[in-house]
């Protein structure tokens, strides 16, 4: 197993970086869309009621099935993988974002409205800063989920650490299976730790 690492460290590093790239691109896109959805939900009560339900339904579709559904439209490869990951993230992010915003004490929001702040000003100057902890928590959960689901995306040629894992499964190579899963687990733990620190920082 150690031999494999010395012989193929370039492959491992390349896959890990590819994996990280998928995760980061997914995160960036997910955040933009989730932010937009959050704003929509804070303006429209109807959207706030319906959207989380729809997203949770979508979230319950297994990833392989979701890939299969999208392949006719966007083909094999990274694009399809990232689209699916972004869709999954919306549930995790929106859920946490809305919980954070709704968790802001009602009297504070009422004072803000009563003194003449617009809904947008209340959102940006009051609600957002007061719920940043749940925002970071949402991002953390979404990123860890993305790292694990992105492994499966190798099955549709999206690259990443899943490639090594699936290669190992196909050729019955334990070293490859282990390194594939170990590295993606390490990546998940690493990112989880970093974002937990960020959460602590924002707790003050």
């Amino acid at each position: 197993m150690i031999d494999y690492m010395f012989k193929h460290y370039d492959d491992l590093i390349k896959s890990a970086l590819e994996h990280l790239q998928i995760v980061l691109v997914t995160l960036a896109l997910s955040l933009v869309i989730a932010a937009a959805l959050t704003v929509i939900c804070s303006y429209s009560k109807l959207a706030a009621r319906i959207l989380p339900g729809i997203l949770s339904m979508v979230y319950s579709v297994p990833s392989l099935a979701m890939f299969a559904l999208l392949i006719p439209l966007t083909g094999l490869g990274q694009t399809t993988a990232i689209i699916v990951l972004v869709i999954y993230n919306q549930y995790l992010l929106l859920q946490n974002f809305l919980a954070g915003l709704n968790g802001v004490e009602k009297s504070i929001v009422e004072a803000a409205a009563g003194m003449g702040m617009t809904p947008m000003q209340t959102l940006i100057k009051i609600k957002l800063p007061l719920s940043r902890k749940s925002f970071i928590a949402g991002i953390r959960i979404a990123m860890v989920a993305t790292i694990s689901i992105a492994t499966i995306a190798a099955s549709i040629n999206a690259g990443g650490l899943g490639t090594i894992l699936f290669d190992g499964l196909r050729t019955m190579n334990p070293a490859k299976i282990l390194w594939g899963s170990l590295l993606s687990a390490l990546l998940a733990i690493l990112i989880d730790r970093i974002l937990r620190l960020a959460e602590k920082f924002f707790e003050r």
Partner: protein, 261 residues
Amino acid sequence: MVHAIEFQNVTKAFQGSLHNAVDQINFTAEEGEFITILGSSGCGKTTLLKMINRLYEPDAGTIIVFGENISTLDPVKLRRRIGYVIQQIGLFPHMTVGDNIAMIPNLLKWEKEKTEARINQLLTMAGLAPEEFKNRYPAQLSGGQQQRVGLARALAADPKIMLLDEPFGAIDSITRTRLQDELLTLHRGMNKTFLFVTHDIEEAFKLGTRVMIMNEGHILQFDTPEEIILHPADGFVKSLVDSARAKEQFWEKFRYPREYR
């Protein structure tokens, strides 16, 4: 003469409620008056107050503020001209006392020096030394101090009308008495119209130049404290006054040592 506030046949009902929270209410308030609105919980006093800054919209009737029908005004602009203080205070916990007070001046894009001077002036007026309190966070203040800041924040943009919804309701009685006295002094110096909601009869009669007594969405009597005590409009008002008297007698008996009673 233009009234500060005028209600014309204002009615408001909440969904799922059998009777109107506020039912066909008419009254006028003049500039510089200190009006206390007295009633038990659920009598419609808070609903009435929140319709003035359009946190609630009436179902029927017209509310006129300094000659303008408020339903034709932009609610955000209207609210910036009206101070609003609530029992839970609602200070922004992530901002310093100074930044809390500066919120509306900043949104109105005042110059920095002007805002700064206003913060100092208001804190001094509220009995808090600016250099000591300006950079503190709300959590570092006592309840009474927090409500002083709440008051200062509401006064920041120099509104002509102040709406106060049981502002001292959650404050201990010693601090409360002091705050009441200071609020009276404050009001005397500024020719603003105060509307002060309370369920405490002594507070209502102590502070108000006129007292509005409400029950079940109606105004039972709206007059000076003396007039209400001398000529209660109906049985409800009379029982209210009597209950205050009974309380007074309760304290009276502690005036002399036990052996002389």
